[in-house]
Symmetry: C3
Subunit: 408 residues, 3 copies
């Protein structure tokens, strides 16, 4: 239907003034690299699927907007750009004709999995002059926590994945219960939601995961940095409040536990059990922390919950939730019972589903921030500074990654 | 699939000439304000839903391209812009935490329903510095004919809704049978279809509503203005015609009533019953009339049928059909029996469904108008002039609504 | 969801070099008219549907991006532009009110099927001044091979359809088994796939149609032109190959026939039967040939298979496959038994479905061609030259068809 272009809906004449609080922002130009990272930050490892999902049958994933084919050969996972340079057909629709290679389904162009080199063009015979003249881009891969990780960079050498994993996961025995879910919405909304100080106490008040434990109404919080992580430190927790002209409000109920006396910085409602020795040894300043390229860590007395927000493209991301206990041997059995019978459905399911709901409907900028959004601003600054530092480092190596669009 | 941009399909060489009749138009630039009003005219009240559909549970509607949340509190309907200024989440996904307010589901920002003022940000405690510094735009509301009406303007004071309702509906006892239906297609195609002199006699010849009554083949019609309405006046009705080189054509059939002798201007096929006194008192010059912002009135001897074409966005509208009888007391029972057993299905259903079909497939401009389209041109002129007069009035009040795009 | 515009995914730093083989192409600017013909070449007849599908009930098709209404009247098929000039409603939603005409459903505008002239505007009576002042564009039509063909040009006189049909189909008795299927993907990918020398031997190796006959691994091929056709001539066929560093590869299997000794140029794996006299008389230089505007001819000893790639719009095409035997009388019975019981499912079905799969996922340019793509380059050159020659011819007749976009 063709309709003449129309009168745009316009704002009413009396615009609300904006004299106080954090400023209303029409865009994210204060953080140009963050603003430009709609499809994710390059130069990082990302978890993309369970290890068990990558077999000898090629599989396509999308990561930071790039189509990538994954294939396992002799136990090792390989990743190549999933577009045959000949006619643009996805290699993931093809198959393996020779060990160590993948062949395009259309004309049998055959690439070395390790180097990406074109080893044969089957339909042009053994002496095809194109062999050795075409190389398909490849991606470094690794396997950790039962998942396949892929590094997306700008041509630099990939750093060891252990340099990027949360430190406590590198050397300690741990068991993992995880959930991977494609979700609508930009990865930054997911990450901001995860670290957001304000939302949990209100949005999640109806989560079954919180059925017997109240949440505070509001907190007084500081954000502190230690190494590559920033932490939320609770200075004060307020369990009920009386709003002028409106009335009292709290999360408490007769069937819920009473709020703890002390301010909790391990778990968000107070440590009520002996703290696991590995966790205690980390001496975390606060229970919620975040690091690049979008990793959330929520520390409880006996386990840690991680969320990895993996950019698929500008409009969707992969939610990777992992619950980790630092234990081994016979102790792993009750963990799996607890995870499969309880945590997976209530925490990684209904509770996290509330976050999914908000990430999908968030629509910013423009935005109008308030006091608890300090956590969000600190995360954006961390991302901006870290990305700027990497760009500096790459330029030193003679690599010029694309910068953010120039400020107007 | 990426395909190089291609050769555009082009018109054949021998273009049909356009020497006569009303001119063929490539666009609607003769009516710049009408052309610009793809998403509707601002400065009017619009019916948006049944009163019974607005309760204490927030509900989103779209009107003139704007998302609006409706909520009923202590019997009164309130309407606010449905986008929390904090992070862009729809307030209609939220709930009521305190009387007289609505709270965003994400962080509990709580707005006064009447003023739009931010009264509390629950997760920032009672002394949140942002309170009183943010005001959400609100919309005037009213309830008439069993429906909720919302005023969309440019910041001016809303005129009383009774100034805009069809005059006969303001002071007379009336009973209403109505149907509200979201429909595809621009609201202007719907309105032009409604007032169009030409289509009814041909398009609707197969409607069951006309099963026993023939329609004329063609009419001689004048359009006259009285106040804010323009009326179609029938000077002549032709019940059959002999088309040169083609043959005879008529809407008559052995099972249909014979056409009336006199030209009918109450009802489109002749008044055959005593005219209701309220209707008679109005002394309408013609049976079909239209007024801003897109209200059709079809007068029959014993009832009036109204159609309100409510702009949802540029591509869809709300059809609001209302059949009104000016009667009361015991007489209302046969009305409801007739409406629910008959009118709703044949008139507001199958007959009106033929209009829906045409509005969906109309694709103009370009267009090539003919003699009966004089009714359509007069409607466009009425809309253009009325909109221009309002813009003049607003400028006098210091309000500068957006104008149409400048002519090239 | 509004997301700030983001950092575009970029190519890795170490780009593969391109020193040899056919050049990698970022676009098709070497063939500007071919590049511009995303919606097809104008000036040709195209098959659009089975003859039996065009009846007295109007039917819409899309051809070269143009909406066209087809209608059969007194045995003849007519084609008109499917948009009423009045208000843009498709005539195909209308019906026939008088012999030799079609009427728009909205206001009864009635067009002559042969000339396109507006004969009546029913709702404006017999003396409507617009009659004779409006002419709807029409398209030449024909019926061949049990199908309706439509000519799309730029205002020139349509050449006789027999000048465009494959020559052997014009004067010889023939029986046809055909399949018409709407398919995704640009028509050029379909045509290039059809004539592509390289793909059949690899892509179709798993087709049931080839169950008992092996295909070569690779061929040595020349392309030769004769009249308006170009032919692939096989100089050498290689039935197995040993790829350096990878190993041996062949299409042979214990249950398949042994490869023929001689190089086959009738049928792609060797003539094993007596050649039909009509086919023998043509003395084709090679078994696969192509001509404008996208007609593939594959010659077997006893039948010929044709594929017509009919542009619907830029993103989809009509696959028209036809299997023809030059026989008559009692011999037609085993043909239909063979076609319906076997060929239709294996050849026009599963085998051709593999082509459909590739055409859908092809994504070029950019592309990186290799030695067997010489057949593809020759087809592009044929199309380019033929299109240029037609433009020259039209200019001589004072017709100026749109050219390709100017080179940058």
């Amino acid at each position: 239907m063709s309709v003449p272009s129309g009168q745009k809906a316009t704002a009413p004449r009396r615009r609300p003034s904006r004299p106080g609080g954090l400023p209303g922002r029409q865009d994210w130009s204060s953080w140009p690299r963050y603003q430009a990272a709609a499809a994710g930050f390059r130069g990082y490892w990302y978890p993309v699927t369970y290890s068990s999902q990558v077999t000898g049958r090629p599989r396509q994933i999308t990561l930071l907007g790039e189509k990538i084919v994954l294939l396992r050969d002799s136990g090792t996972v390989y990743a190549l750009r999933d577009r045959c340079p000949h006619r643009g057909v996805p290699l993931s629709e093809g198959s393996q004709q020779f060990p160590g290679t993948i062949s395009c389904p259309y004309h049998g162009w055959t690439f070395d999995l390790r180097s990406g080199e074109l080893k044969a063009a089957i339909t042009d015979g053994p002496a095809s002059p194109i062999c050795g003249k075409v190389t398909q881009p490849t991606y470094p891969t690794a396997e950790r926590l039962g998942m396949v990780w892929v590094f997306v960079g700008d041509g630099e050498d990939a750093p060891p994945i252990d340099d990027q994993l949360p430190e406590e996961l590198v050397d300690n025995a741990a068991i993992v219960g995880s959930r991977i879910q494609p979700r609508p919405g930009n990865w930054r909304f997911a990450c901001e939601n995860g670290y957001d100080e304000g939302h949990a106490k209100y949005l999640h008040r109806t989560a079954l995961w919180r059925l017997f434990k109240p949440m505070p109404v509001w907190n007084e919080t500081r954000v502190v940095q230690r190494g590559r992580w920033i932490y939320r430190v609770q200075d004060e927790q307020h369990w009920e409040a009386d709003f002028p002209g409106l009335g009292k409000w709290s999360n408490q109920a007769w069937f819920k536990l009473k709020p703890p006396k002390a301010v909790a910085n391990i778990g968000n409602t107070g440590g009520h059990r002996e703290v696991n020795p590995v966790i205690a040894a980390q001496d975390y300043p606060g229970f919620a922390s975040v690091s690049m390229p979008g990793v959330l860590r929520i520390v409880y007395p006996t386990f840690i919950h991680y969320e990895f927000y993996v950019p698929v493209d500008q409009d969707s991301h992969l939610y990777v939730g992992a619950l980790v206990e630092f234990t081994r041997g016979i102790r792993t059995l009750p963990f799996y019972a607890k995870y499969l019978g309880f945590v997976r459905w209530l925490f990684h399911g209904q509770f996290s589903g509330q976050d999914r709901w908000m990430v999908e409907v968030t629509d910013a900028p423009p935005e109008r921030l308030y006091r608890p959004d300090d956590s969000l601003l600190r995360w954006r600054k961390l991302a901006e500074d870290t990305c700027e530092a990497r760009a500096e480092r790459l330029r030193g190596d003679g690599i010029h990654p694309p910068g953010p669009p120039p400020a107007d």
